[in-house]
Amino acid sequence: MLNAVIGAPGSIRRNKAYFIMAVFLPVVFLFLVVRIIPIISTLALSFTNYHMQRPVRKFVGLENFIRLFSDDIFHTSLLNSLQFVLVALPAEIILGLAIALMLNSKLRAEGYFQTLFFIPYILPMVPAAIIWQWIYAPGTFGLANFFLEKLGFQRVGWLIDSNIALNAIIVMHVWKNLGFFIVIFLVGLKDIPNDFRDAALVDGATAWQRIWRVELPIIRPVILFTSVMASIWALSAFTEVYIMTQGTDVSTGVEISVLVFQIYVEGFRYFRMGYSSAICLVLFVISMLLVLIQFRLFREK
């Protein structure tokens, strides 16, 4: 059977097979070391009481998970992460699509607008988060409150009021990533053969009908891709939460904690690596479920 697959010994086909395996071996090795082994290691750690400051590692079964589900800070983090997905995902998809559709309508200076929207995406997250932290600074020292007061409104505790802080960070997250989705949608829209649009025009379809009944169904795989990316990015949001909760003038990290932030806090602030790994596993399961749901929703009928 091996001969049937990779050719008989000494044959050119077998030699080619060996060459291909040899070329891929370093890559596979790196993938194992950097991805697979850490994942398996994290999975194993989640069932232990490993603490970085103590040279003790004992198997504790499901104790970490039991504690997790009675930990109200974990509940807060979980709900915040889900809120992040529920707000950021539709915002990025709808806004991204809307702007891409506008840019696709033979707009003048289309390239200029594409660049403008893409710049936040290529900006590193840390300086972007710091800038937004200044924008949201309390009192009148922050740009947002400065303009609010100039317009006669009351100033807002953007990063202090727990009802607002997470949404303020989500706004920053959406602003940062929107350019990516616009470009992806634009590529998808430009890929649609004009014949379809011409046929719709001939049939008397309005612009909205053309978009809804012709363009969107065709770019369904693109929407699935962006939806998966948006949900993964939302679930794995950390840097913006971490940066924007630094300093003594902002909201507590706990109230607006998200799952990845909680993983960091438990693992690197309290050094409870076993417990932190348990949160990792829960996040992994949630992410997989979300992706599976999206694949099911968007599958071709």
Binding site: A22, L25, V254, R269
Partner: protein, 442 residues
């Protein structure tokens, strides 16, 4: 082509062996000959000061190179947690005594030699010896060399403007002063907090400031010893009253707001009239707000006359894995000398501890520094430090996390039962953490 696979396999094996040997920590003996002593800290001004001290030391000891490295504060915690057990940490680690204690407890830190400890015994305040002592064995495990002592900064112009004479001696007086100092705009928003309280921020700092500001005065303690073990010490009237003071400040007397610019920055911008911090603020104000007229007063007492402050001693420690222990301890001893202690206080602003040093030149320029130094030895104003037990930092950080949420709940200001229930819940978590470490008193 048949030979490619085994050859690549051999190459990977060789690379793997090289990688493993590169990462393997050597546990060999002391290095002889020219050596490099690395020093890690997370305080920028201190790093620069130690660098300058290192230059002086190297001039006297040409065989020794001192490398002073700075890390951001949270990164330093993580760096030490990862590298110390792996035997890859610096030769001198600048950490608070309570921060390095868990590592000593788990066998990663070496005990200081007697000649270095003798300097402490001769010239340093007695509480530093307590901070540096392992409560289990009674042995010294680190060497304190400066202190993070907290007292109250106040804006003298604001006090004069409000017609206030003297400084508050009790918490109640402090609140009355704060009410007169607070300013608001037309919409009722606070434009100047009479009393700036630390209401947010990462790590355990928020609870540290809370402990210093009110708990000490109310004689309330994060943990107390009982039958050789520990238990939460604040689930009682003293703890409830402590939190009530903060809530009253924010919601009843409104001398502090959730969105006022706080800390040294706020004080420098005149967004607050009083706030609690350490001596490094003197240098900060000199550089960033030289026109501010200010002074310092001691932390006020509570209603029962209990007073004091928190002064967590910062120390240097040498890991067991260091190959240059002798050189590291010798440089550490150099940092304790009167000349370098004056330099630390002058250049970094962090408060030195050598009582034999002459700081008079610094006091002429910044009188507030003298108040801090005198505060180390005032009758009725003891200086307390953190307890040396492994989970102390986690206990404080978790309380801080929950307190920061509590400060934003206006209901707690008027609903005493809810406030007490919250404090009790915090205490349950403290006890759970103690139990995890088998330190909970039954």
């Amino acid at each position: 082509m048949k030979k490619i696979l085994p050859r690549i396999g051999m190459l990977i094996a060789i690379l793997g062996i090289l990688a493993v040997s590169a990462f393997a920590g050597g546990q060999g003996g002391e290095t002889t000959g020219p050596v490099t002593v690395t020093y890690w800290t997370s305080y920028p001004l201190l790093q620069a000061t130690v660098e300058h001290a290192g230059e002086k030391y190297m001039a006297q000891n040409p065989d020794v190179t001192i490398e002073s490295i700075l890390f951001p504060q949270r990164a330093m915690d993580e760096k030490v947690a990862v590298s110390l057990p792996a035997g890859e940490a610096a030769d001198l680690i600048d950490f608070a005594c309570f921060q390095i204690y868990p590592y000593y407890y788990n066998g990663y830190i070496s005990e200081p030699p007697e000649d270095v400890v003798d300097v402490l015994k001769k010239s340093f305040p007695s509480f530093t010896l307590t901070s540096a002592t392992d409560p289990v064995s009674g042995k010294k495990f680190t060497i304190p060399y400066y202190v993070s002592l907290k007292e109250m900064f106040y804006n003298t112009d604001h006090f004069a403007e409000a017609g206030l004479k003297g400084t508050p001696k009790t918490l109640d007086e402090q609140m009355e002063f704060a009410k007169k100092l607070t300013k608001r705009d037309g919409s009722g928003n606070i434009t100047r907090a009479g009393l700036d309280l630390r209401l947010s921020g990462g790590g355990f700092g928020t609870f540290q400031k809370f402990w210093t500001q009110v708990m000490v005065a109310y004689d309330s303690w994060p943990i107390v010893q009982k039958d050789g073990k520990w238990t939460a010490g604040y689930a009682n009237k003293t703890g409830y009253d402590s939190l009530q003071y903060y809530m009253d400040a924010i919601y009843k007397h409104k001398v502090e707001g959730l969105d006022t610019t706080s800390d040294a920055q706020g004080f420098g911008l005149e967004a607050s009239s009083m706030f609690q911090r350490e001596s490094w603020v003197v240098g900060y104000l000199k550089e960033n707000a030289p026109d501010i007229n200010y002074s310092v007063f001691l932390m006020p007492e509570g209603p029962e006359g209990h007073g004091g402050t928190i002064g967590n001693t910062q120390s240097f420690s040498v890991p067991n894995s260091s190959k240059v222990k002798r050189a590291a301890w010798d440089f550490g001893k150099f940092l304790l000398s009167p000349e370098i202690q004056v330099q630390i206080y002058d250049e970094s602003g962090w408060q030195s501890l050598n009582m034999d040093a002459d700081y008079s030149a610094l006091y002429k320029e910044s009188p507030a520094l003298e108040i801090f130094m005198d505060a180390l030895d005032v009758p009725g104003h003891p200086v307390y430090d953190y307890e040396n037990i492994p989970p102390i930092m986690e206990i404080h950080a978790r309380i801080a996390d929950r307190l920061m949420i509590a400060f934003k709940d206006p209901k707690l200001a008027t609903d005493r039962k809810a406030l007490e229930a919250l404090v009790d819940k915090l205490a349950e978590e403290t006890n759970r953490i103690l139990d995890d470490y088998d330190l909970l008193a039954k």
